[in-house]
Amino acid sequence: MQPLPKFEYREPGSVAEAARLLAELGSRAKLIGGGTDLVPSMRQGLYTPAYVISLQRIADLRGVAWEDGVGLRIGPMTTLREMEASAEARARFPFLAAAAREVGSPQLREMGTVGGNLCLDTRCRHFNQSEDWQDCVEACVKRGGEFCKASPNGRARKCFAVFSADLATALVAANARVTLQSAGGARTIELADYYTGDGASPTAGRPDEVLTEVLVPSAMQGVLGTYLKYRMRQAIDYPIAGVALTLRPRDGRVHDARMVVGGISSRPVIVKGLGALLEGKVLDETLAESAAKLARKSATPLANTAGDRAHRKQMVYEFARRALAEAAHAAAGAGGGEAR
């Protein structure tokens, strides 16, 4: 079989060692978790790093644990299967375990990691093709060309490849934070801010940083959450649209609602104005309809995947409506406050 482009391989035993390596190698290196995203990309010649640095031997980066007053701490090397099976995740934020289960296939979840899902490269039908395929066309902006072919008129100089990570979309809705560590120190940012919206460079992580922790803050305890995925086949496929919703029901009313849409834009899109629209109100069908329309408005799918753009936009509306209906139903059942 055609081998992968050559690279050197490193397996640091600690985060500090990984950070040291990255400080030295910078953008010549790529981090690898489970390999389910990076290896196919290398196979297609999308990336040819001189070094591949695996985080698999760093025990600290694995595991899901609850810490009172802090929250749900998820090691980024936790596999998606471990995430979906985690008793802590299932007890406290079942929608996160469910979102992990929506990814790919059993083998991809066995290999793929939570961190890998957060750092999933954006995808585009013009970008995720082999070198032979690319030889037939002009390079797109993400491959070093001038224009984004998925952009309106194909003339934008910015990349509009699509972000299609299921769990990441749900974690943004869960107000997750991520910690990034470099040789120079650590910083913690909102996961929502980790995404740049630039398809060519989708995360704000620097080349010398390692993602070391994902935290769902303890303040999120008791939220209701849901993640709905629209796709053609019931396995393997990336989302055509993914809708995550969190809210806190109290006294039959909605508080702190947050909706995030994946599979549509170059980042997980937080639906603007939805929290304010729903705050303190009873979530009836009319309100849900208005909120779903907001979601639709926030979604501007481009020609980055196969599938009709108007239909994808409409599906955001439809799945947003469903997520809200599900939440309303769960809120009624929960009697206000219990985690679903």
């Binding site: 082999s130 037939c136 086949r233 396995a235 393997i236 496929d237 108007a310 599906m315 509306y317």
Partner: protein, 762 residues
């Protein structure tokens, strides 16, 4: 029908142990000492003149042993009906992915680098991608020399011109008078997509030159003997100097009724005198292999108020891509275009049309899923508009024993009515609607079964066992086991007593290839006749020894038994081991048959691609769906399948093959599409072409109806094709009953359902 010992009994696949242990050897598992790796340079343009090819840099690269272009191989072409394709593009390229040059090198990376070093200068030409646009008078012409190409069908009836590489016409009765006599005339246009066969194993060949200078080909194919003939004509090597040794085939479905990797690997092996391996990459499977034909079907049907079909006019435009490896698909489509119905006045015009796209070829259903989608969709429209029950309309018009098809072919073994009745009972039919957004949809199918030339040898061994040799390939559907059962039944043996040698052209007699439901039916019949030949010789030999007339003897339980006095018997091993040295010599049975011998009446059929098929198979499928009117998503909950397959030989094999066909039909109906823009395949992978997964499958209910085909072995017919062809219309029909959305193009995507519902933005 007799009481059989082996036929119809549970018999595990003879190659199952090798396959569950990973020991079965496929072409991609062949690694020979000193083997070189080949890679092909492919056209990046859909249509262009080749101005110049410079291979000097590639040749100079260390580790490169050979570089070939059209200039290095004989100017020979091949094809099924129209010989239009050479090993490499010559003079011009006609699709993105066409082979321009090939390299053999010490390893794959070197071969890849060498390919990159080949310089080709192209002069782009206008291209055409739509089959109907390709028919326009000013359309770019793909094959200027088409009229001069060798053809293997009667082209005098229909001159080939423009981009039409094959054309057939069927006319029975008076279709205009039929329409005039009809109470209603329905006219619809249907569109179908390209679907990839998605066999798991890629095309692959290892070609070697042996000590005697013969070419030895290890490959994955449905037609070893035809491969041999094509290699001979393309390379200018005598057939006797070529041995094709097929490995286990990792799925074919018609897609391996091709010769894709063999000529290039063979030419490179001849050039280098080293073994050469050429394996298609996953992407090459989606750019440079073949798909089901996409196209357009126009269907006009006249009907009486009571639902009696009176006249039908069908026009089939099948998009065959840049070459026509099997334009016969449109001929099969024409045959299936009436459905399994009695229509007195029929006219069919069928066109196979070149476009600057990847090739279309054979794939399970072979031309019929397209026309069946049109026919069965329109049948439901007729039922609805006439206020008739969909089952009743079909039952009223279905073919029965003794009817003739619109081609003039008399039909035998016709159980379509029985499949309809049984399916109706199985689903507890009370009309199509089951509840809000839930409904049943029914569709019938007819497909040609069996025919063409095959042969078999049955060699009796000294211990009483038998060795069967057949050129009819097992492509994974289980033909080895079926052959074993057939020979065992005739010879009074257990299946394990029969060894089947399959495919190797040095060891097996000729077979034309496995397609058109002819493996079990026609290949199996040759094995049966050869086994009977051996049996008769055994009985004659034993009769002399036992002093009993041969007519009183029979073979059972490894013995020759006197039917009138079963205590009198000889062990087969004694007849064949000791016995055969005494007189008459060793026993070999043989059979050569051609089950396609009757030509069509030229007054009815013009431009027939074949003679009459041996028989026809029939099936009724009922899909139970739930459609979400807000998303347009169709969920198929259950498919009920009733098949008329004659005598069942291997029940597990039959069931597996039929359910597999249904899965392919499901993918065709809902998910799969090879999307081509400006000649370039946009989704060249399983990930994006989406064959169904295990969790996409509906519940399956499956039954057969009793039947017997006089020409098939023990009355058996095939099932490979008919299991696919009427799934899509059954689902499309159910979708309409569920939510009122009629989708007339495949696949039935959520978007199309919503559009049919007229649902705009909320």
């Amino acid at each position: 029908m007799g009481a059989y010992t082996v036929i119809g009994k549970k018999t595990p696949k003879s190659d199952a142990v090798a396959k569950v242990t990973g020991e079965a050897r496929y072409a991609t598992d062949v690694y020979l000492r000193g083997m070189l790796w080949a890679r092909v340079l492919r056209s990046p343009l859909p249509h262009a003149r080749i101005v110049r090819i410079d291979t000097s840099k590639a040749r100079a690269l260390k580790g490169v042993h050979a570089v070939l272009t059209a200039a290095d191989v004989p100017d020979a072409r091949y094809g099924a009906l129209v010989l239009d394709m050479g090993m490499f593009a010559r003079g011009k390229v006609r699709y993105i992915g066409e082979a321009v040059a090939a390299v053999a090198a010490v390893d794959e990376p070197t071969a890849a680098r060498a390919v990159d070093l080949i310089e080709v200068e192209y002069d782009p030409l206008p291209a055409v991608f739509d089959p109907l646009e390709a028919l326009a008078p000013n359309a770019p012409i793909l094959h200027e020399a088409l009229a001069g190409y060798t053809t293997l069908f009667d082209r005098t009836a229909r001159a080939m011109q423009g981009n039409v590489n094959y054309q057939a016409e069927i006319a029975c009765g008076d279709v205009e008078a039929g329409f005039a006599a009809s109470d209603f005339v329905f006219e619809d246009t249907y569109q179908v997509q390209k679907q990839h066969p998605s066999y798991m194993e890629p095309n692959s060949t290892v070609a070697d030159v042996d000590a005697e200078g013969r070419l030895v080909i290890y490959n994955t194919t449905q037609r070893p003997h035809i491969n041999q003939a094509i290699l001979s004509s393309l390379l200018g090597v005598p057939i006797a100097k070529i041995r094709v040794v097929p490995c286990h085939v990792g799925g074919g479905f018609g897609g391996k009724n091709r010769t894709l990797t063999e000529p290039t690997a063979a030419a490179l092996a001849l050039k280098t005198r080293r073994p050469v391996r050429l394996t298609f990459s996953h992407e090459e499977e989606f750019t440079s292999a073949t798909t089901r034909h996409g196209g357009v079907i126009k269907l006009k049907t006249g009907v009486k108020k009571d639902g009696t079909l009176v006249a039908s006019q069908a026009t089939l435009y099948y998009d065959c891509g840049a070459y026509a490896p099997t334009p016969n698909a449109v001929w099969l489509g024409a045959i299936s275009s009436t459905g399994p119905y009695r229509i007195p006045n029929v006219r069919v015009e069928a066109f196979s049309i070149y476009t600057n796209k990847m090739m279309s070829g054979a794939f399970r259903g072979y031309g019929a899923p397209q026309s069946t989608f049109a026919r069965e969709s329109q049948m439901d429209r007729i039922a609805r508009e006439l206020g008739l029950d969909p089952f009743e309309l079909r039952l009223k018009n279905c073919l029965v024993e003794g009817d003739s098809l619109h081609t003039g072919q008399p039909l035998h073994s016709v159980q379509v009515r029985e499949t309809l009745l049984k399916a109706r009972a199985m689903v507890g039919w009370k009309g199509p609607r089951l509840g809000p957004n839930r409904a049943l949809g029914v569709a019938c199918g007819i497909f040609a079964c069996g025919g063409f030339a095959t042969s078999s040898i049955v060699k009796m061994n000294m211990d009483g066992t038998a060795t069967v040799a057949t050129g009819a390939m097992d492509m994974g559907q289980g033909l080895r086991t079926v052959m074993r059962q057939i020979a065992a039944e005739v010879l009074g043996l257990a299946p394990d007593d029969v060894t089947v040698v399959i495919g190797d052209t040095d060891l097996t007699p000729f077979d034309v290839g496995i397609f058109g439901d002819r493996g079990t039916h026609t290949g199996g019949q040759a094995v049966k006749l050869a086994a009977e030949d051996a049996r008769d010789q055994i009985l004659a030999a034993a009769a002399a020894g036992m002093g009993v007339p041969a007519g009183r003897l029979e073979l059972r339980e490894r013995k020759v038994v006197d039917r009138t006095a079963p205590e009198r018997f000889l062990h087969l091993r004694d007849v064949l081991g000791g016995g055969q040295y005494k007189k008459g010599g060793p026993i070999i049975g043989k059979a050569s048959i051609n089950l396609t011998e009757t030509a069509f009446d030229p007054g009815i059929v013009r431009g027939a691609a074949t003679k009459m098929f041996s028989t026809y198979t029939f099936a009724t499928h009922v899909a139970e769906v739930e459609v979400d009117p807000r998303t347009g998503v169709t969920k198929v909950d259950k498919i009920t399948a009733v098949h008329d397959c004659g005598t069942v030989i291997n029940p597990d094999g039959l069931r597996g093959q039929i359910i597999g066909g249904m899965a392919t039909g499901l993918g065709y109906a809902l998910y799969e599409d090879v999307i081509i823009e400006q000649g370039q395949v946009q989704n060249p992978s399983f990930l994006e072409c989406r064959p169904p997964t295990a969790v996409d499958m509906p519940a399956i209910e499956f039954a057969t109806v009793e039947g017997y085909d006089a020409k098939g072995p023990f009355g058996a017919k095939g099932v490979g094709n008919v299991s696919v062809i009427n799934i899509a219309p059954a689902i499309a029909n159910a979708v309409e009953h569920a939510v009122g959305a009629r989708v007339t193009s495949l696949p039935v995507t959520p978007l199309k359902v919503l559009q049919a519902l007229g649902a705009g933005e909320v």
